[in-house]
């Protein structure tokens, strides 16, 4: 999974990858105060490519504790559960599921948008691949706007950046590869070496994406994210971070 964090005040994009294993669940947003958690479960490609198995988000879980609503989005179905009752839609439908404050809007074979009242929204994109591809598998992307109103203590791989950290990028210089400049990134008391690169935003073009230039933090975001990425592994799709 490729993370792109847009920092509105600094007007900069910072990106990092999390390289974990299929089956693991990463916490993206943990906000016990608002009662919201967002987690993503990893799946692997059909087989390794160049000795490396790619991982993607195959399932995303949204928990809205105050509504007792859980939304699970996989590459096949979209499930809304409230208490013990469930409604399931498939990606072949265009539909809306409305449960009091939570609205799930599904656009056939494209996106699911979850809104909580009108204050918060989350978009999930479906990436369908050619079924017979020897390596690639269907996967999901998630987009969370920085305007979402979380509590001051929200955390998670994405949530921690809702309250924007101060950063300073300086000393831009040629990198080891002349075409990939490097720079120094000062954040959270660390000074990190970052590399200029391009990531993709697929919201307007699901196949080719739109290039997003960003400063890439190596080693699974070490120094940019709080603690280590393994601290963001959670046991279930609706878990909150314990620490």
């Amino acid at each position: 999974p490729h993370f792109i964090i847009y920092l509105p005040k600094s007007q900069k994009n910072v990106c990092f990858n999390i390289d974990s294993e299929p089956g693991k669940i990463l916490n993206l947003v943990s906000d016990p105060e608002s009662g919201i958690s967002v987690n993503g479960q990893l799946i692997g490609g059909k087989k390794p490519k160049n000795g490396k198995l790619s991982t993607y988000f195959g399932k995303l879980g949204f928990y809205f504790q105050s509504e007792d609503v859980k939304v699970e989005i996989s590459t096949e179905t979209i499930t809304l559960s409230r208490g013990s009752r469930t409604s399931i839609l498939s990606w072949s439908d265009t539909a809306h599921l409305i449960n009091q404050r939570v609205r799930v809007s599904l656009k056939k074979e494209k996106t699911v948008t979850i809104t909580l009242d009108k204050e918060m929204s989350f978009s999930v994109l479906l990436h369908r691949v050619w079924k017979k591809h020897p390596i690639n598998v269907d996967f999901l992307g998630i987009y969370i706007p920085p305007t979402n109103k979380f509590s001051p203590h929200v955390h998670g791989l994405i949530g921690q950046f809702m309250h924007e950290p101060k950063i300073r990028i300086f000393n831009e210089r040629p990198g080891k590869n002349l075409e990939k400049p490097e720079a120094s990134l000062e954040v959270k008391g660390h000074t990190l070496t970052v590399t200029r690169g391009l990531q993709k935003d697929y919201r307007t073009d699901i196949v080719f994406g739109t290039d997003v230039a960003c400063w890439f933090v190596h080693n699974s975001g070490k120094g940019f994210i709080d603690r280590h990425y393994k601290d963001y592994l959670v046991p279930q799709l609706y878990s909150f971070l314990k620490w």
Binding site: H2, Y6, P8, Q11, K12, N13, S54, T77, L80, R82, G83, S84, R85, T86, S87, I88, L89, S90, S92, D93, T94, A95, H96, L97, I98, N99, R103, S105, K107, T111, T115, S121, S123, H127, R128, V129, W130, H133, Y143, P145, T147, E179, K180, T195, R196, G197, L198, Q199, K200, D201, R203, T204, V207, F208, G209, T210, D211, V212, A213, F216
Partner: protein, 648 residues
């Protein structure tokens, strides 16, 4: 004489030979057309009466009949009934009769033609009828009644099924007690299937030395379509559209259910025994989140409990014991029984004891007319209508033929339910259970179908109180192909835990290529389904019409449609005449049997097809700002991860 295989004789003692008996049935997206053809030869030196007697499903519409007698062809035309009768009386055919005879069978009626054949004469009969396949308990069932009456040199039954949605399963159960094991041949693809039944003469014999035919019964084909992928299917063709809606993957909505059981004296014996047996199974099937009670009535009304109770094991066990102890006797006070049931539900609702997301049902089981209390059926109907709340559905089961089924049907249709007649014999239990199973799993409430474009017209009933698992709601309509090349639909409903808004878009030519590729596919299927639904809904509306003027208006529309679509309905008759027009027969529909058979589980209502409920606000996807900082194009790091499906 005409010989069979190995020179064996096929004639019966009366020297009549059945040369061929063919049944061909094509189902295109639940629209079924069936042709039955029989060729007979009279090998006797004497004239003989020959009967062409076929059973057709009640609710099917006969669309054509022809008969060729030694080169003279009789063809049919559809006329308004009085016109048909008048034509018939002008030129009654000699030695020939035809008619539609209502049978005591619950779901079939007989079409019978009898002619007097001269020695050596050859006759060919051919009948066509149309019907719609309704989904029940998770499958469509296509029944073909085979009754050649004697051994046939060529007996061929072919069923072609074409379902664009794709078939989830198809099978042909054994309905001949194993006699024809291995004879039906099934070939099934994803969207098409063919079932063939062609027993040889030897296979047709009841035993190796018998001359009677074992082909007497029903060939049944059961299938269902794929539903996992989409919740609904909108099919558009030739200026008509049909919308099939049967979502899976929904949790059941809790139900509040009141069983109102007739325990008058006439229920004594096998009827009560069977009812008790069915009720025990039904009670065991209740879910923990359901609430229920039992009201039994004769000239008095009793309740097992005065209120609804949760369907716990203890309560169910207690209710079963109560029912087992009932001894039928006395008269029948339907009015009080229903009012008591309605009162229990209303009280529970007033006290806030009902889950706001639950569904309320009353199931009335009765075998006779009221004999105590309010006797006037129209007054009972009025009392129920005045007291029942909008969120309660009333379903009625009439046991046997002594009950006024028409009354039960009106009562139920008026109160968001349906009625059904069942036999009062050793099958009562299974029929009762089967009926209950159709309503035991409510999955959606308040289902409304909207087609926002103004070019969409003549939409059939599009507003339904409930949707039950295992069934299917079908809505159809017309549109102007010159103004629209696609149909948009918005279906709104409430599930166990959410409001649902389902949007579907179907293109005009989505089906064209698919249908053109198969010679068996019926290109008129959308039109026929629309006509079938409309006529049946109009017939039901007609029986509920409160004024003569309304009734006349509906009658006129039904008649117009029946003539336009060339089908025999309760308002039309089939005139069968020779080329000269001097010999006629009349196949006149029996008086409308109210126990027949729109076939549907739903009696809905109509709302303007573009009137989307106010709470539906299909909001556009929120504009999430795209925070892209302009940057020089650089080689991406890490390695590119674009997945390009087209270039694979």
């Amino acid at each position: 004489s005409v010989s069979g295989e190995s020179g064996e004789m096929l004639e019966d003692d009366d020297k009549i030979t059945l040369y061929s008996y063919k049944v061909q049935s094509t189902i295109t997206s639940r629209s079924a057309n069936t042709m039955i053809q029989s060729k007979v030869v009279n090998n006797s030196p004497l004239p003989q009466n020959v009967v062409f007697d076929v059973q057709i499903p009640k609710g099917a519409f006969i669309s054509n009949f022809s008969m060729t007698v030694d080169g003279t062809t009789f063809t049919s035309s559809i006329k308004e009934r009085t016109v048909g009768r008048a034509l018939y009386s002008q030129a009654r055919a000699k030695g020939k009769t035809a008619g539609l005879v209502r049978s005591r069978a619950l779901d079939m009626e007989n079409f019978k033609t009898e002619i007097n054949m001269l020695p050596g004469a050859k006759v060919q009969f051919e009948l066509h009828y149309q019907e719609m396949k309704w989904r029940r308990l998770g499958a469509y069932e296509h029944r073909l009644h085979l009754q050649p009456g004697r051994l046939a040199k060529h007996l061929e039954v072919d069923v072609w099924i074409i379902e664009p949605q794709g078939m989830r399963f198809l099978h042909v159960p054994d309905t001949f007690e194993g006699h024809f094991d291995g004879v039906p041949v099934v070939s099934k693809g994803n969207q098409k299937a063919h079932v063939s039944f062609k027993p040889t003469v030897a296979q047709q014999r009841k035993c190796s030395t018998c001359s009677e035919t074992a082909v007497e019964g029903e060939l049944v084909v059961m299938y269902d379509v794929n539903r996992e992928v989409k919740a609904g299917e909108l099919e558009v063709f030739n200026g008509y559209f049909v919308h099939f809606f049967a979502p899976d993957n929904l949790d059941p909505i809790p139900k509040n259910i009141l069983f109102v059981i007739d325990v008058s004296g006439s229920m004594w014996g096998i009827k009560m025994k069977q009812t008790v047996e069915a009720m025990k199974t039904i009670l065991d099937d209740l879910r923990a989140e359901d609430q229920f009670s039992v009201v039994d009535f004769n000239h008095n009304v009793r309740t097992w409990r005065n209120d609804l109770v949760s369907a716990t094991k203890t309560q169910i066990s207690d209710a079963k014991k109560y029912i087992e102890k009932i001894q039928p006797n006395g008269g029948t006070n339907i009015n009080e029984a229903l009012l008591r049931a309605i009162f229990i539900l209303n009280e529970a609702s007033n006290l806030g004891l009902l889950d706001p997301n639950s569904v309320s049902l009353i199931i009335l089981v009765s075998d006779g007319d009221p004999t105590v209390g309010e006797l006037k059926l129209s007054k009972i109907q009025k009392n129920v209508k005045q007291n029942i709340r909008d969120n309660i559905s009333l379903f009625s089961l009439g046991i046997g033929f002594d009950v006024d089924y028409d009354f039960l049907k009106r009562l139920s249709n008026e109160n968001r339910g349906i009625a059904q007649r069942i036999y009062g014999n050793q099958d009562t239990s299974s029929q009762l259970k089967k009926f209950y199973n159709q309503v035991s799993t409510p999955l959606l409430r308040n289902v409304q179908f909207n087609y926002p474009h103004s070019s969409v017209t003549d939409v059939t009933q599009n507003n339904f109180h409930n949707y039950f698992g295992g069934s299917e709601i079908v809505v159809a309509g017309k549109f102007d192909p010159a103004k629209l090349d696609q149909i948009a639909s918005i279906v709104t409903a409430t599930s166990a835990n959410a409001e649902l808004v389902l949007e579907t878009l179907a293109q005009m030519d989505d089906l064209e290529t698919f249908l053109l590729r198969d010679k068996h596919a019926d290109p008129d299927f959308t039109k026929k389904l629309w006509a079938y639904l409309t006529i049946n809904q109009l017939l039901a509306e007609r029986s509920l019409a409160t004024t003569a003027a309304t009734k006349r208006k509906i009658t006129k529309t039904i008649l117009q449609m029946s003539l336009e679509h060339h089908i025999v309905t309760p308002l039309t008759a089939m005139v069968i005449e020779n080329e000269a027009g001097d010999e006629r027969m009349l196949a006149d529909s029996p008086p409308q049997d109210p126990s027949c058979c729109s076939g549907t589980l739903y009696y809905g209502s109509k709302v303007a097809p573009d009137s989307i409920p106010s709470w539906v606000n299909p909001s556009p996807t929120p504009a999430v700002p795209l925070h892209l900082k302009a940057a020089p194009v650089m080689e991406a790091t890490p390695p590119p991860h674009v997945i390009r499906v087209e270039n694979d």
